[in-house]
Symmetry: D3
Subunit: 239 residues, 6 copies
């Protein structure tokens, strides 16, 4: 029995509010327990130089508001440095969301997903992937409805969740009080077929076995399936 009464394989309640910001081409506020992330997708008609002609690009930026956590942290601009943690996380989000998109269908456009954590209670990076996917899909649907693309550029539903080993018990969707005690921590991004897109496991307190790792991935698969069902409820069948 966990601190908030959840079972070991139970994820926190998730709520996604679409259209939270009226200007963004796609906007979703995601709440996973006490973790709150505002995800906004912006479409621009240009691509970075490394992209092949005729193709589009998807990228993500991740940031914590200064008081998203128990203690205030200085703004990145005040330190003139993007925090290493944010750099690592936004690269994960970007890779995850690119896997959801058919870049030829998107055409020569960049969609930037801004994930700003308003409140952090564990699992902000995976909440950003899930909320960011909804914002991305809304922006793509807008392109389709306006006739700017011929077919829906989304080719997969994508969601992310974490699992970890706390007191030697594998658990799904750690909140902060669990996360800070976890020996092993694993983030997993999957698509609607259960295919793995991103997998990041860290033995912070001790190493873990291949078997333990498989258990954690299996837990994440359950959680991600529920998240993708939620995405389908919100977005409908978009593939």
């Amino acid at each position: 029995m966990r601190a908030d009464g959840r079972k070991y394989d139970e994820s926190r309640p998730v709520e996604i509010t679409t259209g939270f910001i009226k200007f963004a081409e796609g906007s979703a506020l995601i709440r996973c327990g006490d973790t709150v992330v505002l995800c906004n997708a912006s479409v621009e008609d240009r691509v970075p130089p490394h992209v092949r002609p005729g193709c589009g690009w998807v990228t993500a930026e991740y940031s914590m508001l200064p008081r998203a956590n128990r203690e205030r942290s200085r703004r990145d601009v005040d330190k003139l440095k993007l925090s290493g943690r944010s750099a690592e996380i936004q690269r994960l989000i970007g890779r995850s969301l690119r896997a959801a998109v058919d870049m030829r269908r998107l055409g020569e456009r960049t969609i930037t997903i801004d994930c700003d954590v308003l409140q952090g209670d564990g699992g902000t990076r995976t909440a950003s992937v899930t909320g960011g996917f909804v914002a991305l899909a809304l922006a793509c649907r807008g392109l389709l409805e306006q006739g700017l693309v011929k077919a829906m550029p989304i080719r997969h539903y994508v969601a992310g969740i974490s699992a970890g080993i706390v007191d030697n018990v594998p658990m799904l969707d750690l909140q902060y009080s669990e996360d800070s005690r976890a020996m092993v921590d694993l983030n997993c991004v999957m698509n609607e077929q259960g295919g793995i897109i991103e997998l990041q496991g860290t033995g912070e307190g001790r190493a873990f076995t291949a078997r333990e790792q498989q258990e954690l991935v299996a837990l994440c698969a359950q959680g991600n399936a529920r998240l993708i069902q939620l995405e389908k409820n919100i977005l409908g069948e978009i593939l």
Copy 2:
């Protein structure tokens, strides 16, 4: 008659949600029409070097989320520069909120008010002053309730609003579509006695007369009185 049906001396509907973020010592989400600012107050037990012994300090930081506006803007950290506009605005907010506080009563503490604009539709700096004041007062009340200060450090209610001249008509509380056409723009921060704390007027399209300036201040006085009444409804009598 204005675009949204308001009268020339009518301000937009204002809604303030307290406790929006659970970690901050004071938290308020303010909506003024379509302008939405998250204001969080953080208390820290140290003061900058220039502060006199026994006294506290209040400072503010202001930032726009990248997609708060019609077009996405690059993050400050990406440019390695705080935007000049943000620097100007956060200095205004800081001066305004310091005027609300008795620094001796506060004691050797710093309260930082983070104002993050989630959506911008004109008047973000004055909404930040009003929402920031509520967050500040909540943090101060917490200090009092925990016995960390002996008397309430707030000595004035403070609120801010803008007015401007559009098509030669003075109007209160410009929204973005009015603001972008305004010839003259004036921001005014006042206390519960109608005393002026900050006044910033700019003749962007043409110069203005002392009489016009007085009319704009009088409009702001009306708007600020209503805002301070709202603050009293939320906070009660705290002086």
Copy 3:
């Protein structure tokens, strides 16, 4: 009677040396009492992207030399940050000087006014506006004399001065020793018709009334009228 023997409505002696720097298209060294600012106008044949076709742009940069004040301050480049105070001030100077110029007549050119404070004794921002206007007008006259513009791009004389309330007495043109004790501080930029272009008032020690504010503006109007007369003596009738 004030520290330096001036009357409450008397401004400090002002001296403007034109052509202080031989390379700039317009150059003026302004001395207001012990405040000394070097103002140089540079003309470049390009405009920033936000400017409408066929129009010009005017912008300002403001900086204090490290030893302009009683204590040495570190250079901005050493801190890798433009100081917030400089950012605020150079935006004020830029807005003020843009109000002096007919951007169509200027054509697709940018005039940058660099205001470098060699010595600061209060009123550096308003001295920068006044000295910067002279540099700007000289640069515009040069464009006219060389046939690069068809009509003088200056449409108004512009000058700036401060006033404040010290020991409850409103006073014009505060020097540093007065400024540091002032309860209320107001900067005002006006044109040759007495029209207000920029107005910034701050109640640092206490709030102020609308009546007090009017008195301070009236004092500034006197001071600015004298400054504009000085500008006419130097530049001749240029409108």
Copy 4:
């Protein structure tokens, strides 16, 4: 059969030169095929503020020389930004090497492992972990030999290697020409017991199944076992 004639489960030849730099407390130049990384460990008698009293800290920095790759890249200092890729990688190396150390035995010291890639041909992050471990162990042995610590602070051998799926074939230790065509890419850091410390898998071209993921981990386990044997040959039994 692979481009360089290796079998699918064969890693590149690895050569580790210890003492490459004479000043560092631990120094190792690692060559994995054409990937060359200089790893230097520096011991300092202070720890960052977040470390518990009596404990030490291990951290890593990773950088590519400008011409480590096929095309020259600008230096980070020239862009005033640590590249996001470097930030992500040095966090991985730091976590991996901290798992090798008993922080109580280390005492209040920081060991910084600088990993500078002289030539990059795929697998630079895992080569940095392996080479960095040797430099770290040498520095720890020095502390023991000088009597500055009472027991060897190393508690595990640690090594890292990558595997990936190229043309649907799982392969160990991708070189650049394989890596750039890989559909799936996985990095794995392990200890001498086969325990997993870090696991990062990415489906760049397509998602992957849990079974594929297990195959890749199994390949890495083979490669890491060989690397740890090499570490034992170089360092002797140090646990």
Copy 5:
């Protein structure tokens, strides 16, 4: 015969105004022909960590105002980088002025010499050395007069000048129009005994012989002797 009528071994007229800025402990405005540098010395009661106990430190900063030259240059803070040229020059000035000072006599103080070029027409680095020396000596004299040091910390007069080879003719004290055509350029800092403190020669257009180099040093010796005589006229005998 040179462009401005000078003979090949004739330096430009030099004028040094002391006390140009009233706040600095030492202040000198130096004009060498059309080159104008404001040199201010600031005394602070602390030294950088590398300085031996009981000793002082002297350092210099050098900067060009944006419009010191024929074309406006962007401010360093705008680029977030000290220009490489400024970095090179301020190191030269710092080394030159440290050679003038007895650090034991100075005691645990830092004197910072700010050299800001108001107008540049060649020879700004050597003008900074000469003007900076006067500012430094004035600050040291002030320390002596206030009884803060027991003996004058200056142990040598120091001055700097340049020479170069233009059209195969060695010439003293190049102005910009000569400097930009020079094949060889040499800067030389000397003391009152003719001892060399800094020597920097560059063959920009062609290499030069040891004999040519000796001729250029001999020219500089003549120029520096005249500059040191001027310093003595201004400062009196201070050794």
Copy 6:
């Protein structure tokens, strides 16, 4: 007799390994005693804006790895600043190597020489010039062999070495333990005809006479002649 048994006019053993890095157009690892610098030349088909049409450009970057010295130093990117020392040195290297090249023959290309100090024991800047020249010459030979240039763009062999006065004895090629005690330090870059390209002398401990300076230059001439002979052995006759 010197610490390492060398005679006063004897330089340290020098070893140059070409092709150390396989990707660079020219690569040389130079060892001068315990000083080790990796010099890589990269060719790019564009030139900076200030270069005349039809001509090429040569530039250099210099950096120390964090643990090149007795104590670890923070990376430049961590401080967000290129160190002033590195800025000064890379300008020297760039000027020296430009003197070796006929820019018309090079055509509209930039060759960047990256000099990264792996281990520093005195004389890193002159070792960078010598090693950098070999890398540059190799890159130029590659251009010739590929038919991209019609004639060899190298017009001079270039090498650099230092000399200094230690205990009043002039000595060639100071190592760190000598350099840190030297009263006078001089760096000299020369070509195959003994022509001087760069000369930088500093009296850190005391001033020096013109005669002493000539002795130091004469010592450097001996050392540079030997270095240029080594370059010829490696590169063959390339002029």
